[in-house]
């Protein structure tokens, strides 16, 4: 097993090379390539079709989100975080709002927490659906993409009805919520849960038992639990390697402690396990949503937060379980209305570091599958 601490980019162990090797070639994959999910550039060193090493070149989507935070008030910065992981904007907002709330030492009211849980879990399903569609498309199955996008549309409709935006929702505010639920929100969510359950079975029917799918994903991009922990990988990628680590359970935030759900883990840490883990996660999210909708209390949706947010001098780190893994916000306050420094720990960026050890010794086609299975969003990697 490769010790992740000793890996340096393109440090290739070349054993005896009896011949003058004319087959080694360097291929540039991306930044414009159908399978890199945005503007990731991967430099591949190949021996024929075998991957000897990779190097990721990132930054094509860098917008300086963390720097922008230093010139905005706490409230003004809130919408910016939606632009990081734009397919899971609600989770981003939740992490930021809770971090600031922690800094201010206020607590969102219970009704707001329930709403937050429902919306983030819906968003988790939407994010996983988008991942599934594009991942399957990379491996060559066209149809799941259209199925998942059809069903993701229903979630986006609920978001739109709730806050007027579909993708970058800006659903939460520091201290709670801006908007009360619209009439029929609960019914919409319940309908969606009933609607999507058979649809998830449908995706699984297309892929789970499919011989070609199994051959393309089993034992591809394997990462051991030790390597995964050493590299700081989180989220479904970590859980697929067999580590039962989910911040919703380990360090409950919002009111996740109230809900009953399971944390799926895999065994081999290969692409197939990651697929299975995410599929189960979608079902578990539905379970959480069902419980939350059933138990949503009446009451205020906004805590008492001053008009001008001016936290005391101090620093805070708060992390949540975003669809892609641990999303953390480290905020330093100098007592002014603007944060002194905001540092985001994006799950995609950290997970992407595992790409190299996952694809070494695999074939080019597997690189595509592994990039898909890591579920990266370049907006979050580059920030």
């Amino acid at each position: 097993m490769t010790d992740p601490n000793t890996i340096s980019p393109l440090d290739l162990e070349t054993p005896e090379r009896p011949y003058l090797d004319s087959n080694e070639l360097i291929i540039n994959m991306g930044p414009q390539h159908p399978a890199t999910h945005g503007v990731l550039r991967v430099i591949l060193k190949l021996d024929g079709e075998k991957v000897l090493g990779t190097e990721c070149v990132i930054g094509y989507l860098h917008r300086g989100v963390e720097k922008i935070a230093e010139n905005r008030t706490y409230t003004m910065f809130n919408p910016y975080v939606d632009r990081m992981d734009y397919v899971a904007a609600v989770s981003n907002g939740l992490g930021y709002c809770q971090a600031v709330e922690k800094l201010l030492a206020v607590e969102a009211p219970p009704r707001a927490n329930y709403m937050r849980v429902i919306l983030t879990e819906l968003n988790r399903i939407a994010s996983h659906q988008l991942w599934l569609g594009t991942h399957a498309l990379d491996i060559g199955a066209m149809t799941p993409l259209f199925y998942t996008f059809r069903d993701r549309e229903e979630i986006l409709k609920i978001f739109e009805k709730y806050c007027g935006a579909r993708l970058t929702t800006h659903a939460f505010r520091i201290g709670g919520l801006q908007y009360e639920t619209y009439a029929g929100f609960e019914k919409d969510v319940k309908n969606f849960v009933d609607f999507v359950k058979p649809k998830i079975d449908e995706y699984e029917e297309l892929l789970t038992g499919n011989r070609i799918w199994i051959e393309r994903t089993k034992n591809v991009g394997v990462i051991s639990a030790r390597d995964a922990i050493a590299l700081g990988v989180t989220g479904p990628v970590l859980r697929a390697s067999g580590v039962k680590w989910d911040i919703r359970r380990a360090q409950p935030y919002a009111n996740y402690a109230d809900f009953d759900f399971e944390i799926p883990i895999g065994e081999n840490g290969d692409t197939y396990d990651r697929y299975i883990v995410r599929m189960i996660e979608m079902r578990q999210s539905l379970r959480i949503i069902e419980q939350a909708v059933a138990g949503i209390p009446e009451g205020p949706i906004m805590a008492k937060v001053p008009k001008v947010i001016k936290p005391a001098v101090g620093e805070i780190y708060h992390s949540i379980e975003a669809p892609k893994g641990e999303l953390g916000y480290f905020i330093v306050s100098d007592g002014s209305t603007q944060p002194y420094r905001v540092r985001v720990r994006p799950p995609s960026f950290v997970n992407l570091q595992a790409l190299d050890i996952m694809v070494r010794g695999m074939l080019v086609a597997d690189v595509v599958a592994v990039i898909g299975t890591l579920d990266i969003v370049l907006g979050e990697v580059d920030r």
Binding site: Y19, L20, D21, S22
Partner: protein, 102 residues
Amino acid sequence: MADIGTLHYLVVAAALFVLGVIGVLTRRNVVIVLMSIELILNAVNLNLVAFSRMWGNLHGQVFSIFIVVDAAAEAAVGLGILIAFFRNKETINVDEIDLLKW
């Protein structure tokens, strides 16, 4: 125009044969030398089939099939050697392949 007899085919075959021999004797590129050998084998085949037609039996055709098999084997091995050689010396010129031992 006169009837086309066996001799016509023999002349065509002779021309192809000689073209192949010229290729083998003068070209430097191993791939083209191998192709010239294929030309020679084809000329032989044409002769065999023409004679088979002339005598009215099929022995010639059967032999030509054997020669096709032989050509396939020869091409596979020849090109295998070529690839191994190219990997070692990065050249495919016959006159640079002059070491008996590497």
